[in-house]
Structure formats: C-alpha cells, structure tokens
C-alpha cells in the first residue's frame, strides 16, 4: 500500500479508537447533523465535541457543510470503506501470504547463490 494510504489508515484507526467518536459516527450514519445536534445526546461541551469532529475530519471520516451558520456534519463513507477493506479477510490473506513469499524467495535466492559458487 502507498504510504499516503497507510497514513490515512493510521488516522482512520486513530479516530476510531475513541468511544465518543465512534458514537458520533454511528449517529451520523443515520443522517447529517449540526454540531448542536451532536452536543445534545453526549453530555459533553461544544468545544469537546468540536475537537472530536476535527479528528474525524482529518481522518476523512466526516465533512462539514459550507453554510457558515449551521455547517452540518456528514459521514464520508469512502474513508471507512478503506478501513473495512484493510480489515477484510481476503486482503489480509494475501498480505500474510506475501510476507511469507518474501521470506521464501530470499531463501531461494540464497540457495541459488550457493549453487553458483560450487
């Protein structure tokens, strides 16, 4: 995977490593919301919610609307899909297989060199 993608993945999993942020995402899965609407169910201050939203935004998990006054927050499915793919069995199957193939071809190379020297 390209390093930019990996960095993005780090941000996504970092953002998901917090129960409040996961709850915000779960709330947004059922539709966009303003910051005020997000503050209400969490019993947290608006600055705290805003801080969490910034982390989610940097991870590409949410976007903010342009309307200056309300700026509704929306879930961005693409970033989550990347994380879901990484977790997915097929990709992991190959990543682990290719780790082992890497070791194995190194071994093949060594054996070949030994044969050449004889």
């Amino acid at each position: 995977m390209a390093s930019a993608t990996l960095q993005q993945l780090d941000r996504v999993f970092g953002a998901l490593a917090d129960p409040t942020r996961r709850a915000i995402l779960a709330r947004l899965a059922s539709g966009e919301a303003t910051v005020n609407e997000l503050v209400a169910p969490f019993e947290l201050s608006q600055p705290t919610i805003s801080k969490h939203l910034k982390v989610l935004e940097r991870a590409g998990l949410v976007s903010r609307g342009r309307e200056a006054q309300f700026r509704p927050v929306r879930l961005q499915a693409a970033a989550l899909a990347g994380a879901a793919q990484w977790l997915g069995g097929y990709r992991r199957f190959w990543e682990e297989s290719l780790d082992q193939l890497d070791e194995y071809v190194k071994d093949m190379k060594r054996k070949e060199r030994r044969r050449e020297r004889k």
Binding site: L16, A17, P19, R22, L25, A26, A29, S30, L75, A77, L80, A81, A83, A84, Q85, L87, G88, G89, Y90, R91, R92, F93, W94, E95, E96, S97, L98, D99, Q100, L101, D102, E103, Y104, V105, K106, M108, K109, E112
Partner: protein, 165 residues
C-alpha cells in the same frame, strides 16, 4: 461462470488489486508459484499452511489446495483451472471453494521487473459478483479484535444498506 446477473455489475465494483515489490527477480517469484513444493512453503496466512496441494501447472491444467488451521482441521478445498501461463510474466487462474453454489473468482498474477533486480507482483482478483467480493473482504469482521472494530463493522454494514439502491 454463472448467469448474466453477475456480469451486469461493473467490473470496477467486483475487483480487488494487491501489489507488492519484492527484492527478487521475476523468475524466482514465478517459480515459487509453479510447484507444490514451493506453494506449501508460503501460500496462505500465517498459521494456515497448505496441506493439500495438487497442481497440473500448464494452461488448461487444474489445481486443488486446502489449508489446515490452528485447530488441526483441514478446511474446505478450493481450486480451479490455469487459464493462462506466460513464464516469468503472468499467471491467470480461476478459483473457488468446493462447495455447492460457491461463486468463482478470476485471479491474474503479474510479475513486472523493475530497477535493480526488483519485481512488482500484482494480484488482480475479479469476483463473480459484488456480493462475493464483499463476503471475502468482510471475512475479517468475525474475528474483529475488540468492540471498536465490531462497531466499525456494524457501521459499515449500515452504510452499505443505505448506499444500495
């Protein structure tokens, strides 16, 4: 291949591409793919060695593998046919589990020599349907490592439901 229902879904929604650069020449990577004695040393995730490995490595030839998990039980065999073999360049095969009604995938492995003896290996998988792709990519959910990941899985499932027309 199954009926026309699967071919209506766009290719882009049914494919997965995995790439890795190896510090080895293409011919060694090709070799590692071409014989059971090699396959049994690397194919499969860690802890899941290939314990059944039959292969007739030529165009039109068939292969049949099965892996044994940490519980010591051999899993359902899978396999298919080699559709194309270009030495040191490309292998195309179809693959599927030996289960009634199991869908199949077409896997294209390419070996591309880059600078200084390195090789870019690309595994392109075309699943028969989007559902099959999701099933394979989502296989990691069941062994999610904690409630955070479980929640993520729920969330993605919810989003998929909303996105599908």
């Amino acid at each position: 291949m199954r009926g026309s229902e699967s071919t209506q879904e766009p290719v882009a929604d049914r494919e997965v591409v995995i790439t890795r650069v190896f510090d080895a020449p293409a011919r060694l990577l090709f070799e590692a793919y071409s014989k059971p004695e090699h396959i049994m040393k690397w194919f499969g995730p860690k802890g899941w060695p290939v314990t059944l490995c039959e292969m007739d490595f030529r165009k039109g030839g068939r292969f049949r593998f099965a892996m044994t998990g940490p519980d010591g039980m051999q899993g359902t065999p899978f396999g298919g046919e080699y559709l194309e073999i270009v030495p040191n360049r490309r292998i195309v095969y179809d693959n599927g589990f030996e289960k009634p009604g199991a869908e199949r995938m077409i896997v294209t492995v390419t070996y591309e020599a880059t600078a200084a003896g390195k090789t870019t290996l690309t595994i392109h998988t075309l699943f028969a349907s989007v559902a099959m792709k999701n099933e394979h990519l989502g296989g990691g959910y069941e062994r999610g490592t904690g409630s955070g990941l479980d929640q993520l899985a729920d969330l993605v499932a919810e989003m998929r439901r909303q996105e599908s027309p």
